[in-house]
Amino acid sequence: MTTRRLFLKRSGLAFVGLGAAPGLLVRAAAAADGARRRHTLVVVLQRGAADALNIVVPHGERGYYDARRTIAIGEPRRSGGESVLDLDGHFGLHPALEPLVPLWKDGRLAVVHAVGSPDPTRSHFDAQDFLESGTPGRKATEDGWLNRHLQAEGAAASPLRAVALAPTLPRSLHGKAPAVAMTSIREFGLRATAGPAAARGFEDMYAAAVRDTLHATGEEAFEAMEALRAVDRSRLQAGAGAGRARGSLGEGLTQVAELLKADLGVEVAFVETSGWDHHAAEGGATGQLANRLRDFGSSLAAFYRDLGPRGDDVVVVTLTEFGRTVRENGNRGTDHGHGSVALVLGGGVRGGRVHGRWPGLGPSELYEGRDLAVTTDFRDLLGELLTRHMGASDLRAVFPAHACDPQRFPGVMRA
């Protein structure tokens, strides 16, 4: 595989370590690629199993209120500001997600309810692993579904084609295709005091270590460092996420927006958020979950504000490993459940509606008598996004052992 960096090296255009600025080269390359409109998929993973039923609330179900005596969100209009924000007469958003309402009204936010995995596990670890590998029930899978998508769609056009805003590379992006993890665009680089010789030394060592798993990582790191020099980092300070907590969802999404606006060839981006495992004192319209959701909703809304017209080419999907029990537990919280909810935002989305077949909350309708059933396999949702938004032609490699039949797509994208 010839990466751009190797190409530049061989063609005698190599820039040394921290020496000459390669920005022009990268920009020129990006401009050439940018002739066709580049579509981007942003995956937001809520680690910890977010409580679907208090995020997109089935307020039209009596069973919801019966099962959640203390943590249910009040029916629309009945309890003023503390009530569900109605979407379609049956479902509504948690009031802390108020920043997302304009996107819903614009038709740029869709909901897929009762989405999840066919695997019955209620283990965070296994369920996240299956969600990210894209192979429920199969632990031996080595790479992640996003990486397999990149592999299937051909060689990397940009060293920043796949980016995770995280201190470690998420499982979804593990695999043969290059993928970069960074916590901060600004800080992603070698210490300037080290000088070019040290940078060159590291680069050469990792380039030569061809048998080491770190070889590819080293190469990807140095290529990404070069590419990032094309970003006007001063703009980052003023982004919508400025002032947001370090490592937060908002900070991550702000940086993704900057990368997208700089047109550096990002095709997939990954951001994660934790703290969704509310076994106790989850709260209702206010409280712990509400606080998480306030940050979640405002970060997503700010992301689209920040992107402006570029947002038409960007789809965000939010995922979590499973849902939580329909019934609240003994501590005003919820335990590990099954079916969950995904939000899909962006251009081309058939927004303003709740997709997926709603299985109901009646006793006979629940999974194992306690949890929301799964009616949309998460692979059908992701398969639809890859096909209809990213232009993927073949999903067999991305989701092996799953027949991705467009008939089963939830229909969240305009065909």
Binding site: F125, T168, L169, V180, L214, S274, N331
Partner: protein, 546 residues
């Protein structure tokens, strides 16, 4: 060549290198053992082990109580909060109740749109207002826990003990930022240290009763639904007896308490999945629920009075029989939980899961199954004697096999500590080290999921982590890490090619690959300073492995 020699030795010596009469192990073997059973070799370690003999060294490490460790204890004693009990920490470092009430008030005043930053700022103002009444801040408690961990790893002579305690602390992970857990972690860690080398069942019981664990996995709140009505009535009469601290507001605490109306299966599930049987250990959702019923009443007393201890409260307990893993556990109060822990500790699934996990830490990401089998057999034969299981693993031929050498990628903690140990630097303050470990993706004591940190290469191979490692290597060797002092002679002597070899021999006794060595030679010719060459060695692919 060395590898060939070793392979031959394995062939000709019955029982492998560690049993019976045999030639002295070569240096590569000693370095490998040091790489696995310590936080990384110091410059003087190789010679020390040569002198004492590898077996004697290993035997000492397997009996840490025989090793004098007063030097590190003296260093730890300089940390204000070190050695304090949970109660003392709560008394001196938790916000006073008046401060909490004011926080509550301020929070209510803050507009809904106030950012996390605004909230934090308000919190800081209050800390400065109430600070004088306190011995230190809640933040200091976590900061010093992290520092203590780095000091011990770097300086302790009981290296294998510290590696093993780290393993168990990760196995029985708690998250210091949940409620008052930061004040309870030190006692949790002490309990683990006490039982780290003993019987697994004792360790399991100690963690089951650890207030940190009871809080972290919510078992302190789990009650029999029938008992709940009584509690609620009492709570209304007397107000909540216990107080949650930290992230949750007093309203949420009160809510949680007055609403202790039933089961919480958080601990029960992780007990089966993560602490004992493993996720494939053959339990069902029904088992999880039954175990949760048996552990109702296992709770914390005295949290509000700054004296938190485990207690069994029979009033909260589900008094019916339980059916766990096909066995009936007859109603018997606290001893039901004890019986379940005993049964779990004795399960072959547990023996295998624990042995596999230990072998993964000490040998390879995918440890040889024959080795895991033998370790599990030791576990079962000895009734879960951890020392014997560890001994089985580290004296196995597989432990020394060529294919497992340098096979483990260092975690951020392992990388940072091993670099400091190799450099011979003295640690004046460890705070910056813990920040650097966090930059690499490992926030000590702050791993939220109960699975703990991952221990396999795939979790730690990333561009972000690598760049942070390279920068640490450069900063450490340039003497730019605050609190870390390099000896004047750190990388002195030699020049040119000899320089690269001299520095590498000192820092990386397991050796450089020819490719890395060639790069270093080339760069050394480019008139890099010894410190810069040292930075390259510490950032090399080889130094990321152990």
């Amino acid at each position: 060549m060395r590898r060939l020699g070793l392979a031959l030795a394995l062939l000709v010596v019955p029982g492998g290198l560690w049993g019976g009469a045999r030639p002295a192990p070569d240096d590569a073997t000693i370095v490998h053992v040091l790489n696995r059973l310590t936080w990384g070799p110091r410059a003087s370690d190789l010679e020390a082990v040569r002198g004492m003999g590898l077996e004697r060294w290993l035997d000492r490490q397997l009996h840490p109580e025989r090793i004098d460790d007063s030097a590190v204890e003296k260093r730890l004693a300089t940390l204000e909060t070190h050695g304090l009990s949970s109660g003392e920490l709560l008394k001196g470092y938790e916000l006073p109740r008046a401060a909490k009430r004011e926080i509550q008030k301020r929070r209510a005043e803050l507009d809904e749109s106030a950012s996390e930053m605004d909230r934090r700022r308000a919190r800081r103002e209050l800390v400065s207002k109430y600070g004088p009444q306190m011995q230190g801040s809640p933040r200091q408690v976590i900061g010093e826990l992290q520092e203590a961990k780095l000091l011990r790893a770097t300086l302790s002579e009981r290296q294998l003990d510290d590696v093993l305690v780290d393993f168990w602390l990760n196995h029985f992970n708690v998250y210091a930022q949940k409620g008052p857990v930061r004040f309870l972690v030190a006692d949790h860690e002490r309990a683990i240290r006490e039982h780290a080398w003993g019987r697994f069942e004792d360790l399991l019981v100690a963690t089951a009763k650890s207030p940190a664990m009871l809080f972290y996995l919510d078992n302190w709140l789990s009650v029999d639904p029938a008992a709940a009505a009584r509690i609620k009535e009492r709570a209304q009469r007397f107000g909540p007896r216990l107080t949650r601290r930290g992230d949750a507001t007093p309203e949420e605490m009160r809510e949680a308490l007055s609403r202790r109306s039933g089961l919480n299966e958080n601990y029960a599930r992780e007990l089966l999945e993560l602490h004992t049987l493993g996720v494939e250990g053959g339990y069902t959702q029904k088992d999880v629920t039954e175990v949760a019923r048996a552990f109702t009443g296992w709770t914390i007393r005295g949290l509000r009075q700054d004296a938190p201890v485990f207690t069994f409260d029979p009033r909260l307990h589900d008094t019916g029989d339980k059916l766990v893993l096909g066995r009936t556990v007859e109603a018997a109060g606290e001893s039901e939980g004890r019986e379940i822990l005993k049964h779990l500790a004795a399960s072959p699934a547990t023996a295998r899961f624990i042995s596999w996990k230990l072998a993964r830490r000490l040998v390879a990401d995918e440890p040889p199954s024959a080795l895991v089998d033998r370790a599990a057999a030791t576990f079962e034969r000895t009734g879960g004697e951890i020392r014997e299981v560890v001994r089985t693993i580290v004296t196995a031929p597989e432990f020394l096999a060529p294919e497992v050498r340098q096979a483990k990628l260092k975690t951020p903690l392992e990388f940072v500590v091993s670099a400091v140990r190799a450099s011979g630097a003295s640690v004046v303050r460890a705070r910056e080290l813990s920040k650097r470990v966090a930059d690499m993706g490992m926030r000590l004591y702050l791993q939220q999921p109960p699975t703990g940190y991952k221990d396999t290469a795939d979790a730690w191979v990333s561009t972000s982590g690598l760049v942070a490692r390279l920068n640490f290597a450069l900063d450490l060797s340039a003497g730019r890490i605050p609190g870390i002092e390099l000896p004047a002679s750190a990388f002195a002597a030699a020049s040119g090619e000899a320089l690269a070899d001299a520095v590498a021999a000192r820092l990386l006794p397991s050796g450089l690959s020819p490719a890395t060595r060639a790069t270093l030679e080339a760069e050394a010719k480019a008139e890099l300073t010894p410190a810069r060459v040292a930075g390259l060695v510490l950032g090399s692919p080889e130094f990321q492995r152990r």
